[in-house]
Symmetry: C2
């Protein structure tokens, strides 16, 4: 609202009003002037500052000019410096004169009471409430940006309860720590509230986006927290309290930004003045503070891993042991989802994506539960959600929202931070896979895409992944950390590279070396020469290479990568026996790896053995070890590869949050 | 998509591909190199331009350097300058060498066919399609901005038909003129389409926002226009045509920007290359063009009036005659809505708001039909919608959307252009009225507010209007044109000003002059002295003045107005007999006037007659005539005022569009 208020005067009887600390009052000197008056003077008690604005000049009163011409261009402005001790403590008097008369024709007396009213939050993002900030109405991005931040209170601090943003209860101080403090300061004589009312409110459309608790009483015990706004309630009359000059409100977000909700929520404190009997109050002052609901943020492979998730299923004990060893090396905690919970569904990568949300005062991880409906469906809500571990999901419902394989979160990745033609993406860019633009081409469901775009801070890129039977981006790409260049490399599955390698091996005289040697399945084995001679295999791989190259060009453009930022990893694909126009990995899909810092858990490719070494493993080591990466090849053939997934599909990782704060970027 | 494409080579057999005019191909020289090769050279036919990028330097081939080290840091880039006449017309050859060998170890031969593919629209907003523009992917605001514009085809060029955006038909060239032309140019040897496919597509979520017609045949007769995209269809395979290098598409918007729809719609033309049998095509090139759907724009009182609307009802013949005379003076056409259509509902201001929409090639007026449900409900659709006269509405349905009096469009106004603390609003700002932030406070329905905010170009201001029984902003404010200052004045109803005027008249000895004199109703008449003595009347007017002053401060702030931009117009309010806590005009509400250029149709206030002149009329003339305005006082007492409306409520105006084009601003 305006920081200058127009105040009417009367020469018939004294009038009185409230002056809010920090605002200006402009007096309607002309409006109250008696006819015939041509000049006026101004006098005030010691508590008021009086200014005359005349021809653009500001003069403080008393000044050397005793009288002023009665002219709309002469403005009288009043400010006050501290809250009054009593109602109507200060006064301003305007005296009106005719021509050169020395006795006033009439006088207008205005009684003033100064009150302080300020609605404050952590608008400078320091972690504590900033008092009496200016420009609280706007929320701006960037290191110089201003504006408070709210967390979606999507964790569950009390076991067995609902999620914290699903109810109107505040049951622990742990829960309160997820909320943002907002302070409404009211200082001034208490009697002023006999004929004034203070209302805290949000717009009706924001009332389902936030919850507000009012902490009352001197000790602000848990039981003294009342739910006052949100869940439909859009206004709250703040009762004056004799022993408190500060009202403490705790604010929680109920919903992440999404289509139709920018994330901005505006709170107003409005002072209403009682008027005549049987008439409503009239508004005289408004203070406003804007919060932005913190987005859900994904963590790329370059961030330090904290926890690894894997499913224990029938027959995968060795695999779990390997993942366990690797996690230990990388200093991660391992969480094994038992068979009772996964009911044979091993694809924990597809079920969820663990990101985080962050405000200056608090940050916690948040699991995004995919719309996929398989046996692991209940796991994120039942076993991942908890104290300071949030949960969010989007249900695929209604037209255009039927779930496909593209909705599994193996098809949802994020790049490391990049700068693209001068535009910075300090939190990287979300990567999702889609179909070709043809009729009936599947896509990730709209509700998920809308959600991802609405977070704003990791501007998504859509790749073409539906050439694969499973159709996930993690089947052909992966980011690994590197200490040089941009801090990472993009690994891309490459049939060309694989053919080139095999061709070289043949030329070196190893054409008889057998692929799938070591797998213990003689019928599967096939020589390098036979692979090279298989025209059908070559043609699908040429097709796959074209599809990957399309994505390669797109990633180079959208992440501004150079050739040296990309490593082509030898890989062959083959036609799916279910759907011959779609591709699946011919041997375990190397890029579908688990990245735990420098430790890589790589699907063991079972390539031709030359000099007692798998030539594919050797090539991968040759490409990756110079970057300081440690390659561990894990046999996932029987329990994962044969079911069309690999190590990455069968694991999930919670990583550290970025040290970069999202509000310091500019989307 | 990327403007650089990564192209694989083979030393085993010649490969071939398409080079799209205007793009670069980067050759994977290293990937195809035989083992042992250490250097290479490049040769090409005359149709290709070859470049070596080495240590950041770009060298055109042939250059003085005959051979290049085989190193990933040496890049070979190919461009072509014109479409090929035949498939595989041009060639590039890479020869690989070992150490200082003079005979190549191997050669990779690439056959090239250059085609031109360009998807173009009026991206520079000149009114005609701009060919081969760069950066068509982004849409930017401002005089230097780029990006094409679509109109919502919301008129009805064929009488008796549906609205033009409601069906998939193109029935006249008049209809086609509302659409934006988009041209897909394809030049190159026709045979290339034997194994390539060109697809025009939009994202699935945009498929209900646009309609696209493909104009085929040399003569492009009306019957040769096929509906190919939109109304759910999101992709269209463009068949090559032997006699056309240009495919003409006509694009119409189906929906205005709204919550969840920014107005941006992206079209892609993707070239797909056939690969092996029984495998899908692979994408190799994509051209993209972005359109923005033009917003709905309101016209302030400062714009030239074209048409005036009024209802003919029982007893208002004199009123209609007065409006007719005024319209004639102002050079406007008058449209009288007959009783058969209005069924006694005279409030044509409340039923609709006439604005316009605009693209560089076309502009037309658009009536926004309010969610109000009264007898005039069918009028905008039946009688205003027509050829080059569009229609839009928002229905109040579902939770939080029940219609109140605040949804009438007397409560929807727009300011003239303003600049506020450096921010320009060259199309003014929308003004709507709301309730106080109290429980159960009504508001304009969300669907209408969302629509108004989503238009972006006239950033709305919400005032407090619900202190009035009817609750419309046009009951206390009005803008009139002025040749000085900002080009306008804001008129505000002012009880203070009225009391001051009456007091002066009493002091001048006219205390016995009667209000409502001349109305011909003796029982209504009341003297100035009696009005001044009525304490109850004074108290409600003090309350009303406070409510108006709240809005006054807000308008000063949000439009950056100075006192001299505002004229207080004497007015009194009284308690409504229906709802004593709400206000209604005590005498005909002066600011509720019809503004037709300099001609004002003002409700005749029936104020006290002094020296044979109504002192209120005299005061209004004194305030407004110096601005060059012509005041005509119109008696609306019996047929409008008594039913709680006045001249403005009973009329509506279509005005000329702004000469300023909306895309030249920055919201």
């Amino acid at each position: 609202m305006s920081e200058q208020r127009w105040v009417r005067l009367s020469t018939e009887e004294p009038t009185s009003t409230v002056c809010v600390l920090g605002t200006e009052m402009s007096l309607d000197v002309c409006g109250a002037a008696p006819s015939g008056a041509t000049a006026f003077d101004v006098w005030g008690t010691s508590g008021v500052n009086l200014y005359i604005i005349h021809n653009g000049e500001v003069l403080k009163i008393p000044s050397c000019v005793p009288k002023w011409p009665l002219d709309c261009k002469v403005e009288v402005v009043v400010t006050m410096d501290q809250p009054s001790a009593e109602v109507n403590e200060d006064k301003v008097r305007i005296s009106y004169y005719k021509d050169n008369g020395r006795t006033p024709m009439a006088k207008a007396l205005l009684h003033l009471t100064c009150v302080e009213i300020s609605l404050d939050a952590d608008t400078n993002r320091s972690g504590t409430v900033q008092r009496r900030a200016k420009n609280k109405k706007n929320w701006t991005w960037g290191p110089e940006g201003k504006g408070a931040i709210l967390l979606v209170n999507c964790d569950r601090d009390e076991p067995q309860d609902k999620m914290d943003n699903e109810d109107k209860k505040l049951e622990s101080f742990l829960d309160r720590r997820d909320m943002s403090l907002m302070i409404l300061t009211t200082r001034g004589p208490e009697d002023i509230f006999e004929d004034h009312q203070l209302v805290l409110h949000v717009s009706a459309s924001d009332a389902d986006k936030v919850g507000v608790f009012h902490a009352q009483g001197k000790r602000k015990k848990l039981s003294q927290h009342t739910h006052v706004l949100g869940h439909g309630k859009s206004s709250y009359v703040v009762e004056p309290s004799c022993d408190e000059e500060e009202h403490h409100f705790y604010v929680e977000g109920l919903a992440f930004p999404d289509i139709g909700f920018s994330g901005l929520v505006t709170f107003h404190a409005t002072l209403l003045e009682a008027t005549a009997k049987a008439l409503p109050e009239a508004p005289i002052f408004n203070d406003t503070v804007v919060f932005r609901v913190a987005p859900w943020i994904m963590t790329p492979n370059t961030l330090q891993p904290i926890t690894v998730y894997v499913c224990s299923i029938k027959g995968n004990a060795d695999f779990v042991v390997e993942i366990s060893k690797l996690s230990k090396k990388a200093g991660c905690r391992l969480i094994i989802c038992p068979e009772a919970e996964n009911r044979g569904d091993r694809w924990i990568q597809d079920e969820m994506e663990i990101g985080y949300t962050q405000a200056p005062h608090k940050s916690f991880p948040v699991v995004f539960d995919s719309p996929r409906k398989r046996e692991l469906d209940g796991f994120p809500y039942k076993a991942v959600l908890g104290p300071d571990f949030g949960y969010v999901t989007r249900k695929a419902e209604g037209k255009g929202n039927s779930v496909s394989t593209l909705d599994s979160f193996g098809n949802l990745e994020v790049s490391p931070p990049v700068t693209v033609r001068g535009k910075e993406y300090p939190l990287g860019r979300v990567i999702i896979g889609s179909a070709l633009p043809m009729p009936h081409g599947d896509k990730m469901v709209k509700v998920v895409r809308d959600f991802l775009y609405a977070q704003e801070v990791q501007s998504p890129i859509e790749l073409y992944s539906a050439w694969l039977l499973v159709g996930h981006v993690d089947e052909f790409m992966c980011f690994v950390p590197a200490s040089d260049r941009k801090g990472f490399r993009l690994l891309l599955a490459s049939p060309s590279r694989c053919y080139k390698l095999l061709k070289e091996k043949e030329q070196e005289g190893y054409g008889d070396a057998m692929m799938f040697d070591g797998l213990g399945k003689d019928d599967k084995e096939i020589s390098i020469t036979a692979i090279l001679a298989d025209k059908s295999l070559r043609s699908i791989n040429e097709y796959c290479q074209k599809c990957i190259d399309w994505n390669r060009d797109l990633l180079k453009e959208e992440l501004e990568l150079e050739e040296e930022d990309i490593i082509d990893i030898p890989q062959l694909f083959t036609r799916s026996s279910y759907s011959p126009s779609k591709a699946v990995a011919y041997f375990p899909d190397i890029v579908n790896m688990l990245v735990l810092g420098k430790y890589l858990g790589i699907p063991k490719p079972f390539g031709p053995i030359i000099h007692e070494q798998c030539c594919l493993e050797e090539e991968v080591r040759r490409l990756l070890e110079p970057l300081g990466l440690s390659c561990t090849f894990i046999d996932d053939y029987e329990t994962y590869h044969k079911d069309l997934g690999e190590v990455h599909c069968g694991t999930n990782v919670r990583r550290k949050a970025f040290s970069f704060k999202w509000w310091n970027m500019t989307p």
